[in-house]
């Protein structure tokens, strides 16, 4: 084989090439270039590029700047997209778009002697973008191919970006070991931003091994069926350095097939349902608790009705007593409701029952002391029975009667409450089986685990009750 003829090779290169000297005058141009600019070689040689194809606009300046840069630095420069009208031999102008690469050709001393330009006419692309309706058939085969590739790349990137940022999570697992080759941002967040790419599931997410998911992936990969799950429970490490957390996912596994139909991987998609499942669970608990409380309250009201009717032969008195007891229960509920059913200040309970009486007759005092919800209901009913007894038979039935109520916390943290009536000339010990005394005894000793000292002194009833911390401080989830 003989020596390569570089001049001939240059001439037949399919892409347009030309060479200018440092004055930007043509020294060479190949056939493709001559066709593109619609000139003959003699028309170009020795002529200035900018005299032949004048352009004082921005494109001309960019082209000149690129040549200057290559000559000054000796480094190649590319103009990716250059609008540059071309004057035809007949004097008219064609609007053309170019991609131009400028390469320096150095002399023996290493200085830039010439600059070679390779241009690609991208006018068809430009037209395509300007008028998206141009049918593909009007483009050259090469252009169509290039444009399709460009579109495919763009759309692939778009799809990737869409999946990457989708609110649901996506992952692609490749091969029989389920190696991560793609995971969306939301998938990464789901698993605590751990490194996944190139790792099999069992290595990347070790905590899921033994929870049945790998066996499912194996089945999808081998059998090619689609697995779907709703609100599936999984213990997942959601944050680095923390224990796996209970997580609920709607998800599906889809086999990925190649054009031959063989399964190459598994496409995973889903949504994190943990918050929704938790909310539904909480709602269920709240409804259960509400039912429980309503039923317990109804049982209490039922008992009040039954007790009141049993104790009284006078329907008018029974009705009055019943209403007063229900009102006392209702006020206790309201006080608890104000404190989110947590606790109540004992002072509020006492005030609620005794506020209606004249301060010259009734005094009460004590420090702020919180009692839990169960003790609130119990003490409200107790104080109500003591007060109504005082109104009917005791200190509050007489103008000269006097009632003092005081409470404090003793050295064992017990709540001590003293109820002292004075000025009652004829004190009669009430019926031991009466509702009031039965309630006092059962509430203090039975329900709250405390002690009750009930005395009928000359001048009036004196009650001292002592409730241990466990009876009024301990918090509970519910009452009853």
């Amino acid at each position: 084989m003989g020596e390569v003829d570089y001049a001939r090779t240059f001439d037949v290169l399919p892409s347009p090439f030309m060479i200018v000297d440092t004055d930007l005058c043509y020294v060479a141009a190949n056939r493709a270039y001559l066709e593109t600019v619609d000139r003959t070689l003699p028309e170009l040689l020795g002529k200035s590029l900018f005299e032949l194809f004048p352009n004082s606009g921005e494109s001309g300046q960019r082209l000149r700047a690129s040549f200057d840069s290559v000559m000054a630095t000796g480094v190649s420069d590319t103009l990716a997209y250059l609008p540059y009208p071309l004057q035809r031999a007949d004097g008219g102008f064609d609007q053309r778009y170019w991609t131009a690469v400028h390469v320096p050709l150095l002399d023996d001393e290493g200085r830039v002697a010439y600059v070679m330009q390779n241009t690609v006419d991208v006018s068809e692309f430009a037209r395509l973008r300007a008028a998206a309706t141009v049918p593909f058939t009007s483009l050259s085969a090469e252009t169509r191919l290039i444009e399709r590739t460009r579109e495919a790349e763009a759309s692939s990137a778009d799809f990737r970006r869409l999946f990457q940022q989708a609110p649901g999570f996506f992952a692609i697992l490749s091969g029989p070991r389920h190696v991560f080759t793609f995971a969306s941002d939301s998938y990464l967040r789901l698993v605590g931003d751990r490194p996944l790419m190139g790792l099999p599931v069992e290595t990347a997410l070790p905590e899921v091994v033994g929870q049945g998911f790998i066996a499912l992936l194996d089945r999808v990969f081998v059998e090619g069926y689609v697995h779907q799950a709703e609100s599936a429970r999984i213990m997942l490490l959601r944050q680095a350095g923390r224990e796996p957390e209970e997580t609920y996912l709607d998800f599906s596994y889809h086999p990925i097939r190649d054009p031959d139909g063989s399964i190459t991987g598994v496409f995973v998609q889903g949504t994190d349902r943990t918050e929704a499942v938790r909310a539904a669970h909480l709602q269920r608990l709240l409804i259960d608790e509400l039912n429980h409380r309503v039923n317990n309250t109804l049982a209490t009201v039922q008992s009040i009705a039954s007790q009141t009717l049993r104790a009284s032969t006078d329907p008018a008195l029974a009705r009055q007593a019943f209403q007063a007891r229900i009102l006392a229960l209702s006020k206790a509920h309201n006080m608890l409701s104000d404190r989110r059913w947590h606790d109540t200040d004992i002072g509020r309970l006492v005030r609620q029952e005794l506020d209606a009486f004249d301060s010259s007759q009734v005094r009460y005092s004590g420090p702020a002391l919180m009692v839990n919800s169960k003790a609130t209901i119990a003490l409200a009913m107790l104080l109500h029975e003591l007060a109504s007894n005082a109104v009917r038979h005791g200190a509050l039935s007489l103008p000269q009667g006097r009632l003092d109520v005081a409470w404090h916390e003793d050295e064992t943290d017990s709540l001590v409450l003293e109820w002292k009536e004075q000025g009652v000339p004829h004190v009669a010990a009430p019926d031991k089986r009466g509702f009031g005394s039965r309630l006092l005894d059962t509430v203090v000793v039975g329900e709250l685990g405390g002690q009750l000292d009930l005395r009928y002194e000359p001048g009036g009833l004196v009650a001292r009750l002592s409730i241990p911390p466990v009876g009024y401080i301990a918090q509970e989830l519910s009452f009853g």
Binding site: N291, Q302, S303, S306, A378, T442, G446, E476, G480
Partner: protein
């Protein structure tokens, strides 16, 4: 109303007023309350020490705790159990689901109907 005269009943109920109602119902049925607790520690102690019992009526939720620790002691002694709860049967854990339940609020007839089979008494209702 059936006569459960002399039947010995063990009662756990943490609310005074609800307890009064149950005591009255049991008295009307002729039952004798041989053990009565309103708090869990008390219920456990009493369940251990109590003598012969024909049936136990147990409030499930007592002061925020559950009665099951006391229920186990009574069940081991072979005492028939009747749970009382505001939650209904769903409020019972699986191991106690097959036991008798009455839902609060209950009527004297509810208590009678629930106790009859546990005491081996036909009520005719």
């Amino acid at each position: 109303m059936a006569n459960f005269s002399g039947r010995r009943v063990f009662v756990v109920e943490d609310e005074t007023l609800v307890l009064f109602n149950l005591e009255d119902i049991l008295a009307d049925l002729g039952c004798e309350v041989v053990g009565q607790a309103m708090r869990l520690d008390q219920a456990i102690t009493l369940a251990k020490s109590v003598g012969d019992v024909d049936v136990a009526i147990l409030d499930v939720n007592i002061g925020g705790a559950t009665v099951f620790a006391a229920a186990e002691i009574l069940a081991e002694k072979g005492v028939p159990l009747l749970f009382a709860t505001g939650y209904g049967r769903d409020g019972l854990p699986p191991e106690w689901q097959d036991r008798a339940v009455i839902v609060k609020p209950y009527s004297p007839q509810d208590v009678e109907r629930a106790l009859a089979p546990l005491l081996g008494v036909a009520t005719g209702t």
